[in-house]
Amino acid sequence: MTADIVYELTQRKDSPFYAGIDLTGEKKELTIKQGSLAPEVRVLISRNLRKGGTADYEQYLELLIRFFVAVRSLDPEGWGSTEGATFFKARVLRALIRVLSDMIGKTSFDQLTTERMRTMLGRIDKATLSDEAVRKAQGSAGVQDLYEQMRSQVLGDSAA
């Protein structure tokens, strides 16, 4: 299901990633690779299923589209850009998907509208996602640090 979702994110015109994810590893001009996002999406789905979630493929896909539309709206000029972007960086996007996973643990899919998620994500201090700060966040531990930082800003508590 995960690969299909990531594929659909690149195919649907309502997706902020429309034609914007490198699915094959051969499109050097696309900075976001399927291999960065797919594992996080997989974890999000399996974690939600373990907690008794009953959402289907379409609901996960639409939630992710709403989520990333909300993210894009917080930095529209940076979205798709390789320089100066706040959120459009693989490590930040990976960390954000983990934050989304926590959001769906607290709120139902239906209630996570684009506007509501935008309000929640608007609490993120963009200064903590500067190029320099993100460069320092190397590897899985770095993504975990970014996640914990954003989680506390968005949800007001610390990671479990």
Partner: protein, 282 residues
């Protein structure tokens, strides 16, 4: 065709009162016809941008009124002989609602009086530096012909980018019936211009519609009814979400907010004047 996102549309739909009061109301088509051809961009803060913005927002409130009023009037026409025209009326209700949605998000698919195409979309959406781009010749995404087909082709293509801002139950309004962008105009033309189809629609209505149950509508009329209803609901939702507030509905005898005036005008009962007409001699 690119549109604003919702926060950007909120900015676009709430011009400062000083801008609104400084701009004279005029037909958008005349404004665009008079623009020098070398003007391709309308930039926030300029006179051209202000004129376009204030006038299209007025049009949005008027589209919302006529969409709502047509929907309301269609419900008064549910008899077999009027079934085809009910569908045409509902078609226009959806057409106006779709125009309103595009307008709120910075888009416009228009024509000059000389029937020359004008397309306006978003070049830059960030509040404070918003820019709209004018196209005077632009093929629609699927290369449609005919002004309404072209409109729907642009509309559904552009609407994809704002679908995520729609409430989930109404998001379907932004995709066409049968996944065919031209479905509504094709069906409208069938019942409007082809008497075989029109009579088939009247017979279907007679055979299936129960006057006590609106949901007993069947066929293209039912699909158009549902499509129009959802599109109007979505347009009204967006109007609230973007904080649309114009005085474009002044002059028809009602006061209040545009929403209040719209409801009063759309609900107004028509006078019963058939006995004063020639109908009895027909």
């Amino acid at each position: 065709m690119r549109l604003l996102d919702l926060p950007q549309a909120q900015r676009f739909c709430q011009p400062a009162s000083s801008i609104v009061s400084a701009v004279g109301m005029q037909p958008l088509r005349d404004f665009h016809e008079a623009l020098p051809k070398n003007v391709m961009l309308l930039s926030e803060g300029t006179n051209h941008f202000n004129i376009h913005q204030v006038n299209i927002l007025a049009s949005v409130d008027q589209w919302l009124l006529f969409a709502t009023a047509h929907y309301r009037r269609a419900i008064d026409m549910l008899v077999p002989a009027s079934a085809p025209w009910t569908q045409v009326t509902l078609y226009y209700a959806s057409f106006f609602a779709a125009n309103a949605i595009l307008g709120m998000f910075g888009g416009w698919v228009g024509q000059t009086r000389k029937r020359k195409q004008i397309i306006v979309d978003v070049e830059h959406g960030v509040p404070g530096t918003q820019q709209l781009r004018i196209y005077r010749k632009l093929p629609s995404p699927n290369g449609a012909n005919g002004s309404h087909r072209v409109f729907w082709d642009f509309f559904y293509d552009a609407a994809a980018s704002i679908t995520a801002w729609a409430p989930t139950p109404l998001a379907g309004a932004l995709t066409p019936v049968n996944s065919d962008f031209a479905w509504a105009i094709t069906e409208r033309n069938d019942v409007n211009y082809d008497m075989f189809s029109a009579w088939e629609a009247a017979k279907r209505f007679h055979g299936t519609f129960k006057p006590s149950k609106l949901a007993s509508l069947r066929g293209p009329l039912q699909l158009q009814f549902e499509a129009s209803e959802r599109l109007i609901q979505l347009a009204l939702h967006f109007a609230t979400a973007v904080g649309l507030a114009t005085n474009a509905l002044a002059g028809c005898g009602h006061t209040g907010t545009a929403g209040q005036v719209r409801r009063k005008l759309a609900a107004q009962r028509p006078p019963q004047l058939v006995t004063q007409s020639a109908f009895g001699n027909f």
